[in-house]
Amino acid sequence: MSVVSRYLEPALVERLNHLQLSARSVVEGTTIGSHRSPVKGASIEFRQHRAYVAGDEPRRLDWRVLGRTDRPYIKEYDEETNLRCILALDCSGSMAYGEGNKWGSKFDYAARLAVSLAYLMLGQTESVGLCLFQEKIIHWLAPHTGTAQLSRVVEGIEKVVPKGGSQVAKAIHETAERLERRALVVLISDFMTPASAFREGVAHLRHDRHEVLALRVLDRDEIDFPFRNWTRFRGLEGERPSLCEPSLVRQTYRENQARHARQLEEAGRALRAELRTFVTDKSLTEALPAFLHHRLAR
């Protein structure tokens, strides 16, 4: 429990208890839940009658209609299912930026965000899975319900150290292939990858009718580029080091960064995938509830 509490602040837990994360589109679940399922079957909400065909289960016959009309009809119900959610967390080297900072690294922040969402959804009796990826998927936890799943999510995160390069598109493709049924895929990453790769990956997920929620985690430094004096920037994912006077590259950096953000948003908008940016200097206790409120209000 102590490991879990490292990722869940009491104040945040208190606030999450009054909130929920729901899928906007229809998802497929394995148990009865609050989400509407495209699978019709035995359930509590009547949908239609249809003529009996050979092979239908006799228990699904509407005996009242048979007695009145002498024709066998099968009663069909809308199946109420739980939400299947995959939390895909980027564990590449770039996520390690910010270690030693007041707010912690991006990965720390992203991990707390993932655990918080898992807690929230497991509390709603949803199924939650975990996908940790770098250049490929390095850990996969199939979606499951129950409070024990939260511990498994945390254990999975605990074992990983952010390092190496990232292949977001490739990881998404793998994720899509592993998902058999429609689900909510929450991508948590800094998306330090070309917007085209992001678009490609999200398109795959959307093609498979998954709902995609892209949560982008950035450090304030990556937005403002506040450095002064000569600085040697050494890439966390093995890129070529760069020595420069920050004041002279600041404007271009900001332009590049803004353009990339714009392209990500355009991709998200085009593919109906929600993109939300979290900045590590803003407390998760404030930022996550605000996001959930905003989402509920839409």
């Binding site: 390690a96 930026y97 800094d190 330090m192 990556e222 890439g235 420069c244 950096y253």
Partner: protein, 719 residues
């Protein structure tokens, strides 16, 4: 300025240092940086170079502006021949020691001289003269201005009296030797009014103006007064014995004068004379004197130091006095009226006055220590006139002819020789005296040692009786003891006296009767002194011996006579040191030790005396003598001389604006007041150049703004 311009390299060095001392950041968003780096590489270098050049220009321009450069030549509107022959007269007198908030006036003057040297173009010739009696010129005329500037840093502490007149005349002589063009004369001094007194006469001004603008060789004269107009100063004006010489084991009074040159009353000023502390109050622009009784237990040369806690100049808060402490004075009384009845002859009164303890012991019939003269200021030997011989003069310092009727030619000759060698002679005629003998043998028609011709005594019936009325100078060593008394003129009636006619040359009446006739006449011959008292030393002709005036007067007169050969021990700078002593002294070897030096320099002994004239530097000069010396000198053989800074230097009253104007007009100088204008700029303006500092400062401001704007824009902070 070069150093300042070199400072422009500082931004470059910092730039390179900052490049070499970068920090490393582990960075995640390299994808945004790589593109940026590729695109801005070329322009970044250009921008860095532009910013670097802007910063270097900023520092260089600032340094140039601070140097207050002047544009000369074709574009400056100026001088056909910018090469200058410059003579700088630097006031190096003691008043330049005045502290102006942590910097002495000398340091301010030095800065002004450096400004002048900086304003001179290459190949200009310059020389710095010290405008003081006691300082020699700093250097010969030279074109090596850098070396001249460096030598300014090693100047000795200012001392002595300012001699601007001498320095100015010397400066013109140097300029005359240097050519006819570009003649410039600078005077860098303080604002002391007394510096200029010698130059303020109409005759000097007229001749000076003539020389300044003479025959096609016009000389420009600039005066640069440094320091403030503060004038408050408290000084010890003098320290001296009231009745020199001091006699061993006798109480002597030392008089200390304190002068307040300021305009505020100074009360309860702490004064210390040797180990005696006291306070003194001095009114504005006045003098207060304090007499301190002192007893010296050993004979020889000694020093008395007085010091006070004052304001203003420091050198005059302390003063030393060199004092000779002699053994009791050997007085030979030649008595012409020696009697066996007590208090009937002059010698009786003299014994009591000069050796009271011995006289008292003799009266008691005591033959112990007191009878040998212990504790008395004098050792008195009395010889009847008919029994004394010339040999006895060899051991005497003072001879008193008391009512001696006449002298033989041999005796007169011996006395003459005695006086010429430094002995003191007191002629005190009486009822037995035959004046014609004195006049013929000692007065000798004004050529002898007697300072006055004695006329026959006044009437025996007392019809011409008179009183002692006038003492010409209470500051005379004989009468100093009367100073400060409520009734300084003694109540003395004189029934008879010898009228006297003064010898023209050097005779001086020190006191006179109510009748206007002289009572006491002073003269000198050779190294010795002669006193003529025109009435008797006993009570036959008057009440003099019965008055309280008699004892101190007789003692004072004998001391004065005994100190005849002793030259002045406390001197002003430049006055020669002369060491000579009375009869029976033979000097063989002498050395002198001067201030700020431990080296003893040998001195020649010429005709029984030693002279040393290089006394420009104030301080203590010590003579060590070998040979047959007076008793008081035998123990150590050392004589002190103190050269004092002239008290005029303590008067730092500044010239007023009107006085500066009058002097400027009279002497034809241009006044450059550093308190109002920059020295370099004012000189440049006077030469016709243009100052550039204002434009340069404007350039610095513009560059600063430009650099700020560019740096802000390119660093993206504005965005």
């Amino acid at each position: 300025m070069l150093a300042g311009v070199a400072g422009a390299l500082v931004p470059l060095v910092l730039h390179l240092l900052s490049r070499s001392r970068y920090r490393t950041v582990e960075w995640g968003a390299m994808m945004f940086l790589e593109g940026a780096e590729a695109r801005v590489l070329q322009s970044a270098r250009l921008k860095q170079l532009v910013i670097l050049l802007l910063r270097m220009a900023l520092v260089g321009l600032l340094a140039t502006a601070l140097a207050q450069p002047v544009l000369r030549g074709r574009w400056g509107g100026l001088a056909r021949d910018a090469r200058v022959n410059a003579v700088i007269v630097l006031d190096a007198s003691a008043s330049m020691q005045f502290d102006e908030n942590g910097k002495t006036r000398m340091e301010l003057a030095r800065s002004a001289v450096l400004n002048i040297l900086e304003s001179l173009r290459e190949n200009s010739v310059a020389v710095v003269l010290m405008g003081s009696h006691e300082q020699e010129s700093l250097a010969r005329p030279t074109t090596d201005l850098q070396q001249l500037a460096q030598r300014l840093l090693t100047l000795p502490e200012p001392s002595g009296r300012a001699d601007l007149r001498g320095a100015l005349e010397h400066a013109l002589e140097i300029l005359d030797r240097g050519g006819e063009t570009g003649r410039e004369l600078y005077v860098v001094c303080d604002r002391q009014a007394s510096n200029w007194r010698e130059l303020n006469s109409a005759a000097f001004r007229e001749s000076w103006r003539r020389r300044l603008g003479g025959a096609g060789a016009r000389t420009r004269l600039f005066v640069i007064p440094v320091g403030s107009e503060k004038s408050e100063n408290l000084a010890i004006e003098s320290v001296e014995l009231v009745n020199p010489p001091a006699v061993r084991d006798q109480v002597s009074e030392v008089e200390v004068k304190v002068h307040n040159y300021g305009r505020t009353f100074r009360g309860n000023v702490d004064l210390k004379v040797e180990d005696q502390a006291m306070t003194v109050s001095v009114g504005p622009e006045s003098t207060a004197s304090v007499r301190v009784p002192m007893k010296f237990t050993q004979s020889g040369a000694t020093l008395v130091t007085a010091s006070l806690t004052g304001t203003g100049l420091k050198f005059d808060d302390r003063m030393q006095a060199a004092i000779d402490v002699v053994e009791p004075i050997h007085v030979l009384v030649v008595s012409g009226d020696e009697r066996n009845v007590p208090l009937q002859s002059e010698s009786d009164f003299l014994r009591i006055a000069l050796a009271p303890r011995t006289a008292e012991a003799r009266q008691r019939g005591d033959t112990g220590e007191a009878a040998k003269g212990r504790g008395d200021p004098c050792r008195v030997t009395v010889r009847p006139a008919e029994r004394w011989n010339e040999e006895e003069l060899k051991t005497a310092q003072v001879v008193v002819l008391a009512n001696v009727s006449q002298l033989t030619p041999a005796q007169a000759l011996a006395l003459e020789q005695f006086v010429y060698e430094g002995g003191g002679l007191w002629v005190a005629p009486g009822n037995l005296t035959r004046v014609e003998t004195y006049n013929s043998l000692l007065y000798h028609d004004g050529q002898g040692i007697l300072p006055a011709k004695l006329l026959p005594a006044t009437a025996e019936d007392g019809s011409e009786a008179t009183t002692l009325q006038g003492i010409s100078d209470f500051d005379h060593p004989i009468f100093r003891f009367l100073k400060g008394r409520p009734d300084p003129i003694p109540l003395v009636t004189v029934g008879r006296y010898f009228p006297a006619e003064l010898r023209g040359r050097d005779a001086q009446v020190l006191a006179q009767y109510g009748s206007g006739r002289p009572f006491l006449i002073e003269g000198s011959a050779g190294r010795g002194r002669v006193l003529v008292m025109t009435t008797s030393l006993d009570a036959d002709w008057g009440t003099l011996p019965l008055s309280n005036f008699y004892l101190p007067f007789v003692q004072s007169a004998v001391r004065y006579l005994a100190s005849g050969p002793a030259s002045e021990r406390n001197l002003t700078p430049g006055s020669p040191i002369v060491a000579q002593f009375g009869p029976g002294t033979e000097l063989r070897k002498a050395t002198v030790r001067v201030p700020n030096s431990s080296e003893a320099r040998p001195l020649p002994v010429t005709r029984g005396e030693v002279r040393y004239s290089r006394t420009e530097l104030p301080g203590l000069y010590t003579l060590t003598l070998e040979g047959t010396l007076p008793d008081w000198l035998k123990r150590r053989g050392v004589v002190h001389f103190v050269v004092r800074t002239p008290s005029a230097e303590s008067d730092i009253t500044p010239l007023t604006g009107a006085q500066w104007g009058e002097l400027s007009g009279g002497l034809g100088f241009e006044l450059i007041d550093p308190a109002r204008v920059g020295v370099a700029g004012a000189i440049a303006s006077a030469r016709g150049g243009h100052e550039l500092w204002l434009g340069l400062v404007a350039g610095v401001i513009v560059l600063g703004i430009l650099e700020l704007a560019v740096a802000r824009r390119w660093s993206g902070e504005a965005a």
